[in-house]
Amino acid sequence: MTTTASTRSAALPSADALSPLTVQPPLPLAFVRGEAVHLRPDDLYIPPDALEVLLEAFEGPLDFLLYLIRKHKFDIVDLPVNEITRQYMDYIDLMQGMNFELAAEYLVMAAMLAEIKSRLLLPRHDHQSETELDPRAELIRRLQEYEQFKQAATDLDAQPRQDRDFFLVKADLAENFAPLVILPEVSLADLVAALSEVAKRVKDFQHHHISKEKLSTRERMSRILEQLRAGQGYLLFEQCFSLDEGKAGVVVSFLAILELVKEKLVLLEQVQAYGQIHLKLA
């Protein structure tokens, strides 16, 4: 961006060079405050849009005033209002003489400069206190403030910037990457609600009295079926019982086996009387 800045400013000298006072051509193209403006000297050609470009080179009247001040190495706090006003007016008049439409801000500034100038011309009265505000003070403050932010804009532009001074980087994901899927949460209450929905729909559901015992039995049924599958479809009857479950466990297992047989899921085999009983997948 610094390149841009310098390219831009390279066009700035033209503002001064355009000053009507330095050119001496035979045929004035315009008159400004009685003075001839020769926009087309013998050996020079001015592109018709040059003035417009010039105008665009400044960010407004404050920017232009700053330029004039800096060009003449004036001090802002010592603003030589006469000289600055004269130059500013020359510029404005030239532009208006060329029928360029100036932004209203430029004319407002012209009026302000004229007012400051006239107030400075008024004779100072003795009783005026030293502390009375200098008519230039507000303008000086604004110029200083503007200059500060003009510089800040330049500094900001010089700041390393993404996609100009640096680029964001990214590595692809390894082939074995698989997204993490968060599975939905379900609560026990959801289950109860779901079952009650079914119950509401199915009238005869109430005949299926699902009780604790029944549940334990059905769970045991599942477990025995699993054991059977693990044992290639065969299971010793005793293997269905675990002593550390106590009597309750034995009863539940026994009921589960009976239920499995009743539902024709399991066959019971006894090769000889009092021999070993086997469970077999039906």
Binding site: F167, L168, V169, K170, A171, D172, L173, A174, E175, N176, F177, A178, P179, L180, V181, I182, L183, P184, V186, L188, A189, D190, L191, V192, A193, A194, L195, S196, E197, V198, A199, K200, R201, V202, F205, Q206, H208, H209, I210, S211, K212, E213, L215, S216, R218, E219, M221, S222, L225, E226, L228, R229, K247, A248, V251, E263, K264, L265, L281, A282
Partner: protein
């Protein structure tokens, strides 16, 4: 920088380019873009790329050469952890899934046909797949009827997920047979659960039922 570039600078430029690029880049493409100012032999380019690959050994990323060019990618051993950066939330379970799960929990072992008979609608394979994939149900056997349909039961993971010791700890439904009572009881259950979240399952209301039932069972033996 002029048209001269040393190997270290070349490696830096290639590194910056391959990391910044959204797609793999072929040597020819590198030559035609970022390297167009320099006269670099193909051999030298490949050498520097090879050195870059070596530089990244022992790091979390690697430079690989694919058909479409060179690219940096994360090492496969970190994929599991990287997955946590972009978790995907799957949608809530449908009513059909929850009803099927409830029926398997309370009526196991049960066939799909039996579930369909109670629910009055077809149970899609998608529903069964969802529950099997979640690891909450499994096939524990086959019913010896034509077609040998699978018998579904709940798993240990199912009990673990719901914080249950066994299926008997599931809320009892015997008392809920009448519809009105059912919804009231359910509401009571929720209310109690909300007021004492540590007491689920087996909220006081429920515990009474449970104790009774279990107690009876034990005395009956």
């Amino acid at each position: 920088m002029a048209t001269k570039i040393n190997d270290s600078q070349l490696a830096q430029l290639l590194e910056a380019t391959l990391f910044a690029s959204e797609r793999p880049l072929l040597p020819d493409e590198l030559m035609a873009t970022v390297l167009s100012d320099f006269s670099i032999s193909n051999k030298r380019l490949l050498q520097v790329l090879k050195q870059l690959m070596l530089d990244y050994q022992g790091r979390g990323i690697e430079l690989v050469s694919t058909a479409s060019g060179y690219r940096f990618q994360t090492k496969s051993e970190w994929s599991e952890y990287l997955a946590r950066l972009w978790p995907e939330r799957s949608p809530r379970y449908s009513r059909a899934v929850l009803e099927t799960l409830a029926l398997i929990a309370y009526r196991q072992p049960v066939t799909r046909g039996e579930i369909e008979a109670v629910r009055g609608v077809t149970v899609s394979s998608q529903i069964m797949r969802t529950l099997l994939d979640r690891g909450w149900v499994k096939v524990v056997g086959h019913k010896e009827v034509p077609g040998r349909p699978g018998l579904y039961a709940t798993t240990k993971e199912f009990l673990n997920y719901f914080g249950l010791n066994d299926l008997a700890s599931l809320p009892a439904l015997t008392e809920f047979s009448a519809q009105s009572v059912l919804s009231m009881e359910t509401e009571a259950l929720f209310a109690t659960a909300a007021s004492d979240p540590t007491n689920l399952p087996g909220t006081p209301a429920l515990q009474t039922g449970t104790a009774n039932t279990v107690g009876m069972t034990e005395e009956e033996i």
